[in-house]
Symmetry: D2
Subunit: 389 residues, 4 copies
């Protein structure tokens, strides 16, 4: 079958100390320190086959491009991939996807052939202390689909049933296969926002005001979820024109371009205080990954008891004036990825028409052009780019 | 000024033991045990005057009729009022209202003359252990507007500023005084649902399915709030035609008449399991006050970890099969009234157009006809009846 | 190897409708409706062998007798076992135990040969919605060690590694194998109390007063845990002399015999209000399984915001006056079994000497006398009886 | 009567913009920007008198010295007081105290003459949105006893009843007036730790490991509370010998001197990982006010889902590597002061002998030597210094 494979050279940087595990498995915790000269190409590889009773084989129907796919393609000056995350090459990329079950192992209970499904990106063991306590995202033995295990820019994919969730209810609502598969491919990024806002963050008090900084796919999902969960005013900051437009469509009441604000010598904090009439926001989502700029604004715009949800990934430390969190009785809550019941709860929201994430899809490519899809994403013009085999 | 006054005879039933407090203040904890032969009439009484620095005088603009107003008018066979709640007569009735501030005491900070406002029904001391711990509803020294203190079926009303909340943001959104005052008169019953679902109940996981049994004003508010807070499927049971229609309009996806179900030999639990494809509901609201019938249904329709929110008031004990709550890992959460930030959060939801409770108003009467308004409510045809001085 | 095996006849009562699953697997959801004429005896059966890469074989060192073991031995008038729970016979009984790992499958990561361990009783799938959402106790595909799968009144036992937790830290603290294994055999009932109080119940506010009704092993564990978690006054009610004595030793400040109270015409609610100077208790644990008697007392002794933790199993419905939960802003929280991180957190408490559950062991028997151990337990004189192969 | 009065000159620094409120009331939000040349002295001032129905007059029995008292005495190079907090001079200092009620206003319900009491330091309005939502600490109209209103280094003090809580239960337990008053003077700092750990922080899962950095009175209280709330291993870091000794006495299992660690080239994070066998801590309390040093350690020693409780006040921003909180699924929770039910819950813990904070008292002075008491505290040799009129 055809698949977009990423290959690279295992060449740990001088000074980087591999863990015993990394060395034994040739699987990097931080790819940026180890993998050099990546080559992405459509290849012909063997179709996956059932080998364990819990295996499920899925024909891929749609797979979104993530910023991390771009960072496995792009390199720094020394030739290392930009992605500072778990990686093991060669690997088929793609981890935001949907498809149809075409074969199941003898012991599979959750799905059957013909089911429309999506699959979690994070592969958790389910038995370590973190997993047992509901922190599968913090699993001690984590693996990642499309990073350390073959992903979904391919015709077929194999997964353990435990990561697989049915989309049948979305199909029942819309009676539209395209809509269902495209919705399905957007569950993963929506799940990332759901995890931060609800599973880790504990949700908001309906009637509280909300801020989302950054409107990439995860920021846009956060806006849609805040809107469907009862935020009063929703305020968004985003530099891209097209994303600001989508932010409004997903439910943001107030949308600002930080570049324009700067020209007017107005800070984000001032805007938030102005819109909320001085109270500040009840929940503030950092989805920009620009912590050095955003946290110093956030800390000046918090209502008493505010929740700051950290979703964006910032390289390096951010300055945080802790006393401001003390005076406000507020908190910073870290979240990454998704787990638990994030997927099925997001599916329910889609199936009951509470959110429609397909609105953020801006381009579609066939599998043969998966590499072009990644390059298109790298231009940062789009919101979400899909590959549809 | 004109006001609807309720008078009655202090005549404790044989066998009822008055507390020392009840006797001293001639204020009953359970009116049904003490007050006989009620007479409701429009009277001319003195207009309230500022006597303390924190007093606020409000010109009433709209006041809803509550089922408890009916129960102060109606009597049982022995001539006692039906209402088993705190009461001290004579008293001006009416506790779901809005109005305009016309005068404030010298120390008032929260509002100023001209502000559009609504006022909490429950008067809490703010300093006992319950109040300090956020259970103002469980205040040791509770008083009730329209029950033990003069209420709002009147031209004017006096309140301590601490119970008063501004509606100005609703006015800013709608630019419509009528809409603002009518919304304002519906904050109280909406606050009762908000308290149960969010302040006491801790809210729902967006994407969970919801059930509301009973669609009086509080059940209808629960539907509107569940819809705005991210419930997936919302299922309602209600016997009145007009209320079922309103349930749909407020956001219920599935609406059933229990009488019809019974004819078909189908239980509410079966319907819930059917609609939720066997999982049961994530959150179930008892808003019917018919616990002997409803709890035995609820306990057969709970998803793991379900929350059962008890809002309706049932006379006497209900049979509860506790093992079903153990097997489901679920809970019953008692809630009554409103407190804390329920009012301002509901106001935010109205001002940001997330909910519009004015849709449930089915009749309007002038102050002179307040008694007719109560009699109309007693017919149980309406959803919400307003008195507008 | 030797093992205490329970055999019985599959003979569904007239009128009991087997589910398809029950019929196919000959495994009853409610044993009392299906299994007749139980015979418990020490038998020679084959020693378990590793067949899957995640198998662990454990040499049993200590196994507690549970009330449910008694209920599989005892029958009602029609000859059916008294236990109304999942069962599949023949089955080796025993589910509260500890032992030493003697062999592990090729893929086992959590333990290694020689580790001292305990094993969860509830076997959860880890992938259904309930499991993923942290309700492994509500798993759709639940199995039970010592009920539907061979248990620990035996020389050896086999388990999937995911249910196994190490006791090594207890050994490190006490440097005493006997103490470690006996502690290990008490993790399961302590985990049941931990689940209810903390995992489902969300814990208490330190400085709140606590009530425990019933001092069987789970009630005693609840007392120990409430003491170690910051309850102020702890009040216990229990009819057995020896258990009342142990309640005091585990940390209860006030211990009453309900039989004596009745003679004095004093209710449990009155005692609680008296001890708490009228405020009522912050957390109340039903560990007696006598709901028809206990809930009507509990509802009269609740502080605002009280948590009622339902641990005891009561047959049939209990009368619950819901309005009292509304007026108190309180709740009933159902809990059964244990899951998630209950075992490792209890182990930490034992290893750091915060609780010492071995104090409740009142008798010890060798494996050959396991049946006598169950009969001894049936006399209800003891707190906890151990079988030590 | 005699009292320790602080006087200073109102001299706003150049560039500091007074708010309208500050200017009108001559009350500074940040004293360090406004007040110059402080003079502390024992003066004869008029005894307070009842003027409002809710006033309570208290004869002071014991009052602790706080670090903030030192910072009102000490000045920077420009002559400004070091304290960057609300202040209005002249003011009687002292805010951690206990005493006996000697007179009450006509409307007082909470206490009566003769009651032994302690009083909250933070004076909250009880009616703004923050107060109503349980964030009295974030009150919009906050005042502070001993900072903006006359405090307790005096013979008598006047307070509104709402801030007053009875110590009678402690007296009932110990039957010792000295013990009761000394315990009472320690409620305030203990309440600060209680607020952070439980009221804001939501408490810990019993059996989780805990870290406290810094063992001033608040750090010591945190240790005592963690111990009484079920922490497994408690690890403390503190540079002062006497405080490390007290940390052990309050319940810390492992106590380290960071200076010694540094000599050995070992970080705090390494120690925590070592003691917890690699898992990191479940709850970590910053009570040192040295965020630039402590947060970079904390973020490397967190278990999945860890709670970092920020109690210490650090001047300026601290570097926080947010991605570490995302990867751990952990959070930083800001807390300052106390409110709600912190005082009565701490009193319950003292009255039931769960904590005994009097152990941290290291010196006692008569009122006449209150200034010496502050100077003694400034030497940072003691844990807690008491002034006893």
């Amino acid at each position: 079958m055809k698949a977009l494979v990423c290959e690279a050279e295992w060449s740990p940087r001088k000074g980087y100390r591999l863990t015993r595990e990394e060395d034994a498995k040739k699987s990097a915790i931080n790819g940026n320190q180890v993998w050099k000269n990546p080559r992405l190409s459509i290849k012909e590889i063997p179709q996956p086959e059932i080998s364990r009773p819990t295996d499920v084989i899925i024909k891929v129907k749609a797979c979104g491009v993530c910023g991390s796919d771009v960072h496995m393609m792009e390199t720094d000056d020394a030739g290392y991939i930009k992605l500072a995350y778990r990686t093991k090459f060669p690997c088929v990329l793609g981890h935001e996807f949907s498809g149809r079950v075409v074969e199941v192992g003898s012991g599979v209970k959750k799905v059957k052939t013909g089911d429309m499904v999506s699959v979690e990106e994070i592969h958790w063991c389910g038995q370590c202390l973190a997993c047992c306590e509901g922190y599968q995202n913090q699993c001690l033995y984590i693996e990642d689909l499309g990073f350390t295990e073959d992903g979904a820019f391919a015709e077929y994919l194999i997964s353990d049933e435990k990561y697989v969730w049915k989309l049948n209810d979305i199909m029942e609502t819309y009676q539209d296969e395209e809509k269902t598969y495209e919705s399905g491919a957007l569950i993963e990024p929506t799940g990332v926002a759901y995890e931060g806002l609800f599973s880790r963050g504990g949700g908001l008090r309906p009637g509280g005001h909300a801020v989302v900084i950054g409107s990439g796919p995860i920021g846009l999902a956060a806006i849609a979820l805040l809107r469907t969960a009862g935020a009063a005013k929703i305020i968004n900051f985003e530099i891209s024109d097209i994303r600001r437009k989508l932010a409004g469509r997903m439910g943001s009441d107030f949308v600002y371009d930080p570049v324009e604000l700067k020209k007017d010598n107005v800070t984000m904090a001032q805007v938030i205080l102005d819109v909320t009439k001085g109270t500040g926001a009840h929940i503030l989502v950092e989805a920009a990954g620009a912590g050095q700029i955003t946290y110093p604004e956030i800390e000046n715009a918090m209502e008493h008891g505010a929740k700051v949800i950290a979703l964006g990934v910032t390289a390096g430390s951010s300055p945080v004036d802790i006393i401001k969190y003390q005076i406000a009785g507020s908190r910073i809550i870290g979240s990454i990825g998704h787990c638990g019941a994030d997927f099925p709860r997001v599916i329910n929201l889609m199936a009951s028409r509470r959110i429609d994430m397909t609105q953020i899809i801006t381009s579609r490519f066939p599998l043969e052009k998966a590499l072009e899809a990644i390059k298109q994403t790298a231009k940062k013009i789009d919101a979400k780019v899909l590959v549809k085999p």
